[in-house]
Symmetry: C2
Subunit: 390 residues, 2 copies
């Protein structure tokens, strides 16, 4: 299968490229390395010493499982560039990770909000036209987020909900309450993709992903040169990854508010499983399919307690500290999200437990001297004028 | 009241500016005249010979009802410019018409789709930041469209719907099935504005407007120099305006497909009433309010028959012709949309009938020699490769 991976230098994009390549698919990656620059721009860096894309690809070729990976350097926002890549690579599946994926980044200023919405929405819109014009049978696998739904007081379904209203009935897009301007951009993408499927007959799967944690995947584990990036700062780090790093370097676990915020989570290894399952089982022509891509629900405080327990078993002294919440969000709420479609396709979840956290801590220990502690405490506020007491 | 009108040189923006000015409000308008250029770019022109903004404003000052109107020339996409305008004008209400408003324009090419979504979404996002940072108490009156909802098989509510699901209940944003990439951009705007209200406590009213028809308003009727633009081409003309012009110049009425497409409609005079009612009755801080702004529902074929009847009473020979539908849309569908909130605020509808159509025909007759017939037949197709037989 010809697989095009947009954002193929990223935390998930790179391991995804290796996974498809290891399975014998023809992989092409696109990236412009802006994520590397953004993270440096907020005063942080990947904990893992990631190689350049060129070095990574070379190392992969030398690997027994490795096949050729082609790369194109450029931005999905550049419609001409992307159109040329799609026309040349003629993908049967496009996996689209090539977006600004941090909620705090999108909330820091007007400029960053505009950068996020412009880059994500226009990049994705460019892609829809390129698929329509060059490879209309291609299956678009788009990374969405569970954060598109927000925290409604009813069960979250997978993309659609059947509504009975005043004696009539229809199945309609599930209403969205996105949690940041980044999350809004993903809602916009879903709206555009759904329209393209209805109107142009494109086929797409929106993977509304939960919060990802973990470092290693099957393909990256054996060779340090193949390791993927690992962010732990307040802007680009996700919560469980942040907590594990904090436990190792002796920084208090940064719980925002009460920590009652409940979300869906999944291991990075399961992200690869899910994307592969979606690709191997494509949507029908004209179908816009939505999968809720996570394996377990946790509250933030539950995760903090789990990391504290695992850290203490390994001899670390771990403090849980409640920070004034820099975000505008509910801290106690109903949350129950359906996530059966990927299980039906064969997903075998990697469940989170103390042992898994301990293995993450061990992986972090190898690079702990690279941690930049000043990037950890929450600074990005959702609403200006709200005091944050550290 | 200090009123800032974005898109104040347009079909609705200009008469709205006059209405607020005639009522004694302090009016500032912003425009970059791109609508004039777009219409020329598709080979058409306003049927009415509209004056430059400068000339219009001068003529208005000379009018007995006239007060000073300030103007700023620039684009809402330019965040620095818009921020400066908002900081200086310090509006108590912003009426935001400053967007690309044609569905066919947005569907003609990737470039035009990107131009539409970039301009509309980023312009509106810039505005939200400027309001937040300079005039957080200001009421945003945003023009949305009934086309955001599409044609669901259940009754369309005003912005929100109460859903009972698996024994729980919530009131959530009404699901959207937008009809073009332009309509998608308006859904994106609604999502962003709702987020800004929830997160920053802004107050906003989204006016989901139906299809507007008509030429004259109370303030523009007496002085040719104050007349507003009138578009009838296949890209920027709306259906009833197009039909009236077609009747006058002897072109067949261009019904797309069966003409069973049902939509909400309103007179341009009622647009002004609605915007004024919204402005005089602002949303609460943190409230994102949605009004369905139309007065009557019609199918396209009903309107064609009405125009044929009125035209023939005035001595014109009017042919109704069914064209292969250039759009991807349902031609026969359930359609029933609630529209009581503006009536509750005091809207007195101007109802459509033969007499009103005859008055539109008379207004068109005065400028019929300006009509460019080659711009009328449908050329812009929703899906490439779909043959359109004219």
């Amino acid at each position: 299968m010809r697989v095009l991976i947009l954002g193929g230098d990223g935390y998930l994009g790179w391991p995804t490229a290796l996974r498809f390549s290891a399975r014998g698919h023809e992989v092409t990656v696109v990236d412009n390395f802006v994520r590397r620059r953004w993270v440096e721009g907020v005063g942080s860096d990947s904990l893992t010493p990631i190689r350049t894309l060129e070095e990574r690809i070379e190392a992969w070729h030398a690997n027994p499982a490795g096949n050729e990976i082609r790369s194109f350097i450029g931005s999905v926002e550049d419609g001409e560039f992307l159109d040329g890549v799609v026309a040349e690579a003629r993908p049967e599946v496009v996996v689209h990770y090539g977006q600004q994926a941090s909620a705090p980044y999108s909330m820091a200023s007007r400029e960053q909000a505009v950068e996020t919405q412009h880059g994500n929405v226009i990049g994705n819109l460019n892609l829809l036209f390129s698929i329509r014009d060059h490879v209309p049978e291609c299956h678009l696998v788009k990374l969405g987020t569970m954060g598109e739904y927000g925290q409604p007081n009813i069960e979250i379904e997978e993309g659609y909900i059947e509504i009975e209203h005043k004696g009539r009935r229809d199945t309609l897009p599930y209403p969205k309450l996105p949690a940041s301007l980044y999350h809004c951009s993903k809602v916009h993408d879903s709206t555009n993709i759904h329209f393209a499927c209805r109107t142009w007959g494109l086929r797409a799967t929106d993977l509304n992903q939960g919060v990802v944690y973990g470092i290693e995947t099957e393909e990256t584990a054996g060779d340090e040169r193949l390791i993927t990036r690992f962010d732990y700062d307040e802007v680009f780090g996700t919560v469980l990854n942040r907590f594990c790093l904090q436990a190792v370097i002796g920084h208090p676990l940064t719980v925002y508010g009460s920590g009652g915020q409940t979300r869906g989570f999944l291991n990075i290894r399961d992200t690869l499983q899910c994307v592969e399952l979606a690709a191997l089982n494509p949507a029908e022509a004209g179908e816009f399919r939505v999968f809720n891509q996570f394996t377990e629900q946790f509250s933030v405080i539950e995760l903090a307690r789990l990391v504290k327990q695992a850290g203490e078993h390994l001899g670390y002294s771990v403090e849980i500290r409640h920070y004034d919440n820099p975000r505008v969000e509910k801290e106690e709420h109903y949350y129950n999200a359906v996530h059966t479609k990927l299980l039906d396709l064969g997903l075998r979840p990697t469940l989170l437990g103390e042992e898994l956290v301990e293995s993450m801590i061990h992986a972090i220990e190898r690079h702990k001297e690279r941690a930049i502690e000043s990037s950890i405490d929450p600074r990005t506020r959702w609403a200006p004028g709200t005091p944050v007491h550290l």
